[in-house]
């Protein structure tokens, strides 16, 4: 619908070297200045995640801070149905997802300029977006879709920060239940592995491929270091340091070198202070 109109527009899209199309964007229809969005089809050699299908994802640079996910979705739906929007601080592959968190436990998001990965329903929307003429800016805040900024937004934020204690308790409970389940499963797994290591009635132990449940060696770095340290100490105790003549000579040489260094240091310190006129009393 919107895309078909675009084809007849007189103005040409602006494509800069590197393959990015420039989309101007302004906050409201009466703003005087524009930011420039740089859009390009999402192309990487190895995209593992299925969230960003290569043929339907638009990569957008320089999204202003007042454009939330919903706003971006709204803005780009003129090029075709938007499936999902992902806003990030920096370009890069998507996060590995941990357990699902409620918004109250998520770390605070940075509200700066973002890069976006917009997944359309259809791949032809990409083309529509890229061929948007460069003198028709996108407008963020329109009468149909007002965007709150400044004091209004902060008041809204403040209102939204409230949570009922009961609700919070519920979130905590469900998370902990989930957590306990996971823990239990892990323990189960471990117990199974441990069982496997047990001798069977004929005295055989089944040796499996090294797995993390197996305790063959100390399992943390600190413990590793401790053992290493112990070994070193043992070695040192055996070694004689003042047995050969060259060892004697070496220690003496080191001592003098140390003194020389100290003396030079002092001299430099004084010279430095003198250079800064630090000895002028008034």
């Amino acid at each position: 619908m919107a895309a078909s109109k675009m084809k007849h527009a007189r103005s040409q899209p602006c494509i800069i070297p590197g393959g990015f199309a420039v989309l101007p964007i302004q906050f409201s229809s009466d703003s005087g200045a524009q930011h420039k969005l740089y859009v390009k089809e999402h192309k990487v050699r190895a995209e593992k995640s299925s969230h960003r299908p290569l043929d339907r994802t638009l990569f957008v640079l320089n999204i202003p801070p007042y454009c939330s996910q919903a706003v971006v979705k709204e803005l780009f739906s003129q090029f075709g149905c938007v499936h999902s929007v992902e806003l990030r601080d920096h370009p890069g592959s998507s996060h590995e997802s941990g357990p699902k968190l409620s918004k109250f436990f998520k770390p605070a998001e940075k509200k700066g300029f973002k890069v976006g990965y917009i997944v359309f329903q259809k791949s032809r929307s990409l083309k529509a977006a890229k061929s948007h003429p460069h003198n028709e800016p996108l407008v963020v805040c329109t009468e149909e879709h007002p965007v709150k900024t400044g004091v209004q937004k902060w008041i809204q934020q403040y209102r939204e920060s409230f949570i009922q204690p009961e609700k919070l308790q519920e979130i905590v409970d469900s998370f902990m239940e989930d957590y306990d389940n996971r823990k239990e499963k892990e323990e189960e797994q471990q117990r199974k592995e441990a069982e496997l290591q047990q001798e069977d009635e004929e005295g055989w132990v089944k040796v499996t491929k090294g797995h993390k449940g197996v305790k063959a060696r100390p399992h943390s770095e600190a413990a590793n270091k401790r053992t290493l340290h112990k070994e070193m100490r043992k070695k040192k105790r055996k070694e004689l340091m003042n047995f050969y003549t060259w060892q004697h000579k070496n220690t003496q040489k080191e001592h003098i070198a140390e003194l020389r260094k100290k003396f030079e240091e002092d001299k430099q310190r004084i010279a430095l202070l003198r250079a800064q006129r630090k000895f002028k009393p008034y």
Binding site: I16, P17, F20, S31, A33, H35, K36, Y38, L61, N62, P64, P65, Y66, H90, P91, P99, F105, K111, G112, F113, V115, G150, V151, Q152, I155, Y158, R159, F162, I163, P165, L168, Q169, F175, Y179, K183, K212, S220, E221, A222, N224, A257, L259, R260, K261, K262, F263, E264, D266, K267, Q268, R269, I270, A271, L273, R274, A275, K278, F279, K280, P281
Partner: protein, 1140 residues
């Protein structure tokens, strides 16, 4: 380094056969540096020394070995020795300068020999003097008897420090004694100022002759150590003024009999002085000791020089010792002015110590200084005078007689002259105090003795807790009249300032009593005036300043309890305090005389000394309060709260509320785990919050209400509601196996604890609580506490992670550090500083002033609250060379001085909290610091708990910001001190709190309505907006929660910094600032190639195949107003400053 090394090596090898002493050795690197013109002087930074392998391990010579051994055994000392040698080089006269002086002296001597004779006239007849020259003397009374004529001097001799070799830079003074031929004088001239007047005339005659000579620059008169009876003529060569020759006119040696100048004899007759008929006999005339000593002083300079030369030839380190002593005195402003501890006096003191074998001839300059300070600290010359006279003749006065005439006694080798005649007891006490304090610092291995003794100036305004000035000195005439000081006035030949000063000092000492530990006064500076003008009047001298060193525990007491009504001392007490004294009955049943001063709040109580001084001066000295400028609390205004207090009371209220809450938390029952600690971590809980939170009573109609959670909401379109500061409290829960070992799970469990804490507090104590994921807000008595539950193993859990091989590794990360800072370090710092406040009652106020200044000057983002508190703490814990600050004002001045003068680049600031660090810790900290200077924060602050990291300054300030802080602090200090000490300046201390806005690129002006802390602004606006609070009534527990921690300005700033932090810096005064200053980062405005990771707020320009990007300034400026809609009034882009 590679390039530099050969030069240094060459230098050393050339020197090595020569270097007999260490000095030459230490010259080498500097010479090497100078030979390299490209080495930038500004950029000298300490680099860890790197010597090449061949250099380190080359075979040592025997000589070098010795030297190294010596340096090793005296490691600390050798550094000090080098430092002192450098200092001596700075103050010693160069050979070139000496040559200049010698030739000039020769010219002057030759000229003086050719002074023409003049006919004999009456002393009163001044007609022979031309108009170009005036007599350097105040002729009061107008006439005296005697005849006078000019004739060439009998002899011209060098005296004083120059021939002795103890003359030092700066202010080089060469003394030249001109002997008045005996036929000009008469033995009876001792009487009635005849001799002093003849001497003045003789100088005027010389001046008249010398004006015609081209070899001499403009001449000026002055007087010796401010004694107006002893004028001198100052000569400088016409081309340079780097030194001054001081011409003294003296009688021929032995012309007057010394016994005429006995301190109990009279040489000024009342009849002559007052002009009234007097029926007293000569024997009942009052003694004139000061007059006598001023005449006698003229007779002896040659003898003194001889005596000192003999001493000097015995002790080789004498000149250097003198130089150090002079530097020490000068840094303490003791070496100039009336009654000063002059260089001459210092050399006599050294001579005394040498002749009495308290120091030996072989000692070094360092030891001479140490021993003289030790002597000064331990000897009280106001009670037990000392004498240099070996076997005085029978006519010489005894020490007791000297004590009856003078306050301080130090008798010269002749046995007749008191060298300390003009010194007041207070000045000597001052010297003594300084000496004993200096000895303490010297003995303390943790203090840099060299710096605090010899390098740090101690002006009165930065040394004394309170300072006041007497402005109109004419008023002291009426003091003399009221206190009946005619005899003193005669003795001081009409100088009413000097005559009244001892009286005023003793009056104040008596009145202030136990409240002060030291009373000092400024030495009135030596006047200098051109030969063409009349001698200045006594009132022309600048105001007299007095400094008080307070005893913090007693100084602010409002009650002066006197003796019981029936005791004989009661009359004395009543006499001292006049009508203010009244009978009072005390709780212990005693009825005593007492004076009650006004003072309800702490800030009024701090000014009790002012009330006392004003009252006493008015009552006994007839000096009205309008003549007095009292600088005790001039800067305190900027931290005044609405209730006209400086916040001590409010802080106390917060602390009490917190104590109550913490007790209630401890007593809670029914929690799954018990509470192990409740700790405050907010500045308000250590008395250092600039504007401590005040209990609020809310006007509900002002807000929107959120029914479900019983909370209030800000209303759109109304001014921003009053800001409610959350006071953070950390609540540690007991460790237990039940705690999960997972970061997310711990966070959820903490939230669960916060919920149940809230429920319990609400149930038992009816506080309104609102738990959320990260904290629990508790509304209690109009204050808001924010409780955060902490689990001590959480940082450890955050640090642990599993690597690919399934190995558990522990890695420090920012998240863990931040958590540790909040839950461990901050509470600890808070409790430690809380303790410091108990010890030093004005600690909190100093912190608050300091932070107010930092905020006003836009530095609060860089020098954070905790950093500022630590800096101030260091002023109290390591006050050398001062004593711990006793008033907010002096503390603030020293804070500025610390910021501006500390060598942040080359030394760590060690804050010895709780006195936990020992001397070895100090060296350890210093060595660690030196070894890894480059990687450490620019501002390095070490505390007992944090010796290597400088936890609080890790993030900020940056080098550039620190530089700016240093510059602004130095400038503020200069302006403030000038204003405080000079009454003629415009009196507006807030000048130092108004930042210059010219340097910034964009100014964002905010709507005052939306700035909740507007009333805390430096220049508080006259109109204030209703912010939904009511005048204080009874505050009931419970009720709806107010709008908490809602400040549009900080929200806006965070958004700006997050969005444009790479492009610009944003500055704002957190305390009611209505302007945000923006500074573009020059780096960001350089053209950059197109990169997907660096496109924030930039626009691309295509030239051929290249794509370069620049910040999209127009759009950014519009974003400023879009993002701050409702808050921003206007965005003022100073485009003339930048163009792209």
């Amino acid at each position: 380094m590679k390039k530099k090394q050969p030069v240094a090596e060459d230098e050393e090898e050339k020197m090595s056969p020569l270097h007999a002493s260490q000095e030459e050795e230490s010259d080498a690197p500097v010479k090497a540096k100078r030979s390299k013109p490209d080495s930038d002087e500004k950029d000298v930074v300490y680099h860890p020394v790197k010597l090449s392998r061949s250099d380190l391990y080359r075979p040592p010579t025997a000589e070098e070995l010795n030297q190294l051994k010596e340096a090793e055994s005296l490691f600390h000392c050798s550094l000090l020795k080098m430092q002192m040698e450098e200092l001596l080089k700075e103050v010693a006269l160069s050979e070139h300068r000496k040559l200049q002086i010698d030739t000039f002296i020769q010219t002057v001597t030759k000229l003086l020999q050719t002074v023409p004779d003049s006919p004999e006239v009456e002393v009163n007849d001044l007609s022979w003097l031309s108009d170009a020259v005036k007599i350097p003397f105040l002729l009061l009374p107008k006439t005296t008897k005697g005849k006078f004529h000019m004739t060439p001097p009998a002899s011209v001799d060098l005296i004083g420090s120059y021939p002795l070799g103890t003359c030092t830079k700066p202010r080089i003074m060469v003394d030249l004694a001109v002997t008045i031929p005996s036929d000009v004088l008469h033995p009876k001239d001792v009487l009635n100022q005849r001799y002093p007047r003849k001497r003045a005339l003789y100088l005027a005659g010389l001046a008249q002759y010398l004006t015609s000579c081209n070899d001499i620059g403009p001449m000026r008169y002055s007087c010796l150590h401010g004694n107006r009876l002893r004028p001198v003529l100052l000569l400088t060569p016409p081309d340079s003024s780097s030194f001054t020759v001081r011409l003294h006119a003296c009688p021929p040696p032995g012309f007057f009999k010394p016994n005429r100048f006995h301190p109990q004899r009279n040489n000024i007759r009342t009849e002559w002085y007052t002009g009234l008929q007097n029926f007293q006999s000569e024997s009942s005339e009052p003694p004139t000791p000061h007059y006598n000593s001023s005449v006698l002083g003229d007779l002896l300079p040659r003898a003194h020089l001889q005596f000192l030369s003999a001493i000097r030839s015995q002790c080789s380190a004498f000149p250097e010792g003198m130089a150090l002593l002079k530097v020490w005195l000068r840094q303490r402003e003791l070496d100039q002015g009336t009654g000063c501890f002059s260089g001459f006096l210092a050399s006599m003191l050294l001579a005394y110590l040498l002749t009495t074998h308290r120091i030996s001839n072989t000692m070094t300059a360092y030891q001479l200084l140490r021993n003289s300070l030790n002597f000064l600290a331990s000897t009280d010359l106001t009670v037990n005078g000392i004498t240099l006279a070996k076997d005085p003749d029978s006519t010489a006065p005894s020490l007791a007689e000297f004590h009856s005439g003078f306050q301080v006694v130090f008798v010269d080798p002749s046995g007749h002259l008191n060298l300390c005649a003009d010194m007041t007891a207070c000045t000597y006490k001052h010297v003594q105090h300084e000496a004993s304090v200096s000895m303490q610092f010297w003995d303390d291995p943790t203090v840099d003795g060299f710096h605090s003794l010899l390098m740090t100036p101690k002006p009165m305004i930065r040394t004394s807790d309170h300072v006041f000035q007497l402005c109109e000195l004419v008023k002291l005439q009426s003091t003399c009249k009221k206190a009946n000081l005619l005899n003193e006035l005669m003795d001081q030949s009409g100088n009413y300032v000097d005559a009244a000063l001892p009286f005023i000092l003793s009056l104040l000492q008596q009145g202030l009593g136990q409240r002060i530990s030291l009373l000092t006064h400024s030495l009135s500076p030596v006047p200098e005036w051109s030969v063409e003008s009349e001698a200045p009047k006594h009132k022309a001298q600048p105001p007299l300043s007095f400094g008080l060193l307070l005893r913090p525990e007693l100084a602010s007491s409002v009650l002066e309890r006197g003796p019981p009504a029936d005791s004989p001392k009661a009359a004395e007490f009543r006499q001292l305090w006049g009508s203010r004294s009244e009978l009072r009955r005390f709780q212990d049943g005693a009825i005593t005389e007492a004076v009650l001063w006004d003072g309800e709040s702490m800030c009024q109580k701090r000014l009790v000394p002012k009330q006392i001084i004003a009252h006493l001066l008015q009552l006994h000295a007839d000096v009205p309060e309008s003549c007095m400028r009292y600088m005790g609390a001039m800067v305190d205004d900027v931290i005044k709260t609405g209730n006209e207090t400086t916040g001590e009371e409010e802080s106390l209220l917060v602390v009490q509320a917190y104590d109550d809450l913490s007790r209630k938390l401890w007593q809670l029952e029914g929690l799954p785990l018990s509470i192990t600690a409740v700790q405050g971590s907010h500045p308000a809980l250590r008395y250092t919050q600039v504007f401590p939170p005040q209990p609020l009573k809310l006007d509900y109609s002002f807000f929107e209400r959120e029914k479900v959670s019983r909370s209030l909401l800000p209303k759109e379109g109304k001014p921003c509601p009053a800001y409610v500061t959350p006071v953070t409290v950390i609540c540690h829960m007991e460790g237990s196996g039940k705690w999960p070992h997972d970061r997310l799970a711990i966070r959820h469990i903490r939230a669960a604890f916060q919920i149940s804490l809230g429920e319990l507090l609400n149930k038992h104590h009816d506080y309104t609580c609102r738990p959320c994921a990260s904290h629990l807000d508790v509304w209690k008595d109009g204050l808001l506490f924010r409780i955060q539950v902490a689990y001590h193993r959480e940082p450890q859990v955050l640090r642990e992670s599993m690597n690919e091989a399934g190995l558990l590794i522990v890695r420090d990360n920012e998240e863990a550090q931040a958590l540790e800072t909040i839950t461990i370090h901050k509470p600890l710092l808070t409790s430690t500083l809380h303790g410091l406040q108990q010890e030093h009652p004005c600690f909190g106020a100093v912190c608050r002033l300091a932070k107010r200044w930092l905020g006003a000057q836009f530095f609060s983002e860089d020098v954070t609250e905790d950093t500022a508190d630590l800096l101030v703490a260091s002023l109290f814990l390591q006050p050398a060379p001062f004593t711990p600050p006793g008033s907010p004002q002096v503390g603030f001045l020293r804070f500025l001085h610390l910021l501006s003068s500390f060598d942040w680049r080359n030394s760590p600031l060690v804050v010895n909290l709780n006195n936990q660090l020992t001397a070895t810790d100090y060296t350890e900290i210093k060595n660690d610091f030196m070894a890894s200077r480059e990687s450490l924060p620019v501002m390095f602050i070490a505390t007992p708990k944090d010796k290597k990291m400088s936890l609080w300054t890790k993030r900020a300030p940056s080098v550039q910001m620190l530089q700016r802080v240093v510059i602004v602090a130095a400038e503020s200090l200069k302006v403030l001190e000038r204003q405080l000490m000079d009454g003629s300046q415009i009196q507006d201390v807030r000048v130092v709190m108004r930042p210059p806005l010219e340097d910034y690129d964009v100014l964002i002006h905010l709507d005052p309505k939306q700035v909740p802390l507007l009333s805390q602004a430096v220049d508080a606006p006259s109109i204030n907006f209703s912010r939904g609070t009511r005048a204080i009534g009874k505050i009931l527990p419970g009720g709806a929660l107010p709008v908490i921690d809602y400040n549009p300005v900080t929200l806006y700033l965070t958004e700006l910094r997050e969005a444009f932090g790479d492009l610009a810096l944003f500055f704002c005064d957190p305390f009611g600032g209505t302007v945000i200053a923006v500074l573009w980062k020059p780096k960001a405005f350089a053209s950059m190639p197109f990169k997907t990771s660096q496109m924030s707020a930039r626009s691309a320009a295509v030239t051929g195949d290249e794509v370069s990007t620049l910040p999209n300034v127009e759009a950014i400026l519009e974003d400023f107003s879009v993002m701050g809609k409702g808050l921003v009034k206007s965005v003022d882009a100073r485009t003339e400053k930048w163009s792209f």
